[in-house]
Symmetry: C2
Subunit: 276 residues, 2 copies
């Protein structure tokens, strides 16, 4: 049975476009609706309760836009703290980025890993919890890197400042780790700088890319894949500054979003209108 | 006539505590209620319309807490774009930080100035507009410094990274300017680093400090000052993470806030309850 309903994807802002980009490559026949909560970005420095509230209102805004077959949380901070609340509130499957990232580490038989993430994700300890549930018995070092998101949002992903900040955060990561999880959707854009600064061979795990493959597997398992002749639609919702979204999408997404497909939504009103 | 009602002060988050601190020093008998919108911080990167909406809901939340004799907007971004909307909506006087900062420059007879501020404040051109209205005929150079806020929020106000970022933003500010306006409440905490990097004698104008004196003058003019035996109360409202506010206040404020005086508020519900 082919299911042509869209996949809903949301993030605190622009970072999740790296996940959407990977999803579009892996699933070229799937329609997708992306919501960036640009009015309340960033989430990584905010409390778990506030992030849960924001996640529920984002899900409501997406469902308000049209029927969805699956919700993908393209934000590590939300995936770390709000997945149970979203799964309890929604009748469609909800997938986050933590499990796919942790599975990649486990499958690669790493024995000592580092997690680079926002303060919210590090505080939640979500990657270690997920890895331990899979039976991972190795070492986990976590490092909150709060300046990486503003750095990427300024487009300063290379150069002396990016290097100095990367050195600051990577300085005390043991060079003996087998793998480093990029535990925030913004971080893959810093990868060349991180590799230069770390200067030691290691597996770099992009949770977003892993999530794209995970989503495809889940859709197949649940018989929710679109048909191979389906012509996909892409639509973008933002809670602030649609112009900026159109301008910056090329940087995050690898290509500019389709003109005129970006729509401003009032997330608060959506919550009032929709029962999720 | 002595008026013991509190002054309301709001900011997008913690930065406005530098203004509150100056106000408490200049007006030791005045009660003050401070609101930090920590759930939606930062404002400097968001659209003018969203900042206006946030400002109106913050004012409603403050008035919901109790009667106020004046509202002080301790945030340059809000002062730049939302003052007319606030003044139209409220029956009490509303004071921002732009006019006091511009007045200080004008009074000091500077002929060439630079403004360091958030993207929102720079885009609004508010300092230049205010200066021109006063009759300022000199040169104004504006520079958006979007990484300064996250840097200060990480407590990294000195050191190599702070210096590298300051060099990045101050590099093309002509060394011939007479004055530099610190056009964001976070920036005074970076002053020693900015002075080292700029390495040229110049007047540094702290809009927050100027605002404290301006508020006192306005209260006197409007006969709203508290009596000199008034024992002031201080109360703090935040939209997220009251614990973090208690911890960080010493850094921003020079001293920790009074224990137990920090209250979590739901700004959205306040807007629904209160007609402003």
């Amino acid at each position: 049975m082919a299911d042509s309903r869209a996949i809903g994807v949301f993030d605190s802002g622009f970072g999740g476009l790296t996940v959407l980009s990977a999803m579009r490559q892996v699933m070229p026949h799937e329609s997708m609706v992306y919501l960036g909560d640009t009015a309340r970005v960033p989430y990584g420095t905010k409390s778990a309760q506030t992030v849960v509230n924001y996640a529920l209102s984002n899900a409501a805004a997406l469902l308000n836009h049209g029927p969805l077959k699956m919700l993908v949380v393209a934000c590590n901070t939300v995936s770390s703290v709000a997945l149970p609340a979203l799964q309890a509130a929604l009748s469609i499957p909800v997938v986050g980025v933590i499990t796919p990232g942790a599975q990649a580490v486990f499958a690669n038989k790493a024995s000592s890993i580092a997690v680079l993430a926002t303060t919210g994700t590090v505080t939640s300890n979500a990657y270690e919890i997920s890895l331990r549930e899979m039976g991972f018995a190795g070492t986990v070092v976590s490092k909150a890197c709060p300046l990486f998101v503003p750095l990427v949002e300024e487009g300063m992903v290379t150069g002396d400042i990016a290097k100095a900040i990367a050195e600051h955060y990577l300085g005390d990561i043991p060079r003996t780790v087998d793998a480093i999880i990029l535990g925030c959707t913004h971080y893959p854009l810093l990868l060349p700088t991180l590799q230069t600064v770390f200067n030691t061979p290691v597996q770099w795990i992009d949770s977003g890319k892993m999530t794209a493959h995970f989503v495809k597997k889940e859709l197949r398992k649940q018989e929710l894949l679109a048909g191979q002749f389906n012509v996909p639609n892409y639509h973008y919702l933002v809670s602030d500054a649609p112009d900026k979204f159109e301008q910056l999408s090329a940087f995050y997404f690898g290509e500019p979003v389709e003109k005129g497909n970006v729509e401003l939504v009032d997330i608060k009103s959506s919550t009032e209108q929709v029962k999720i």
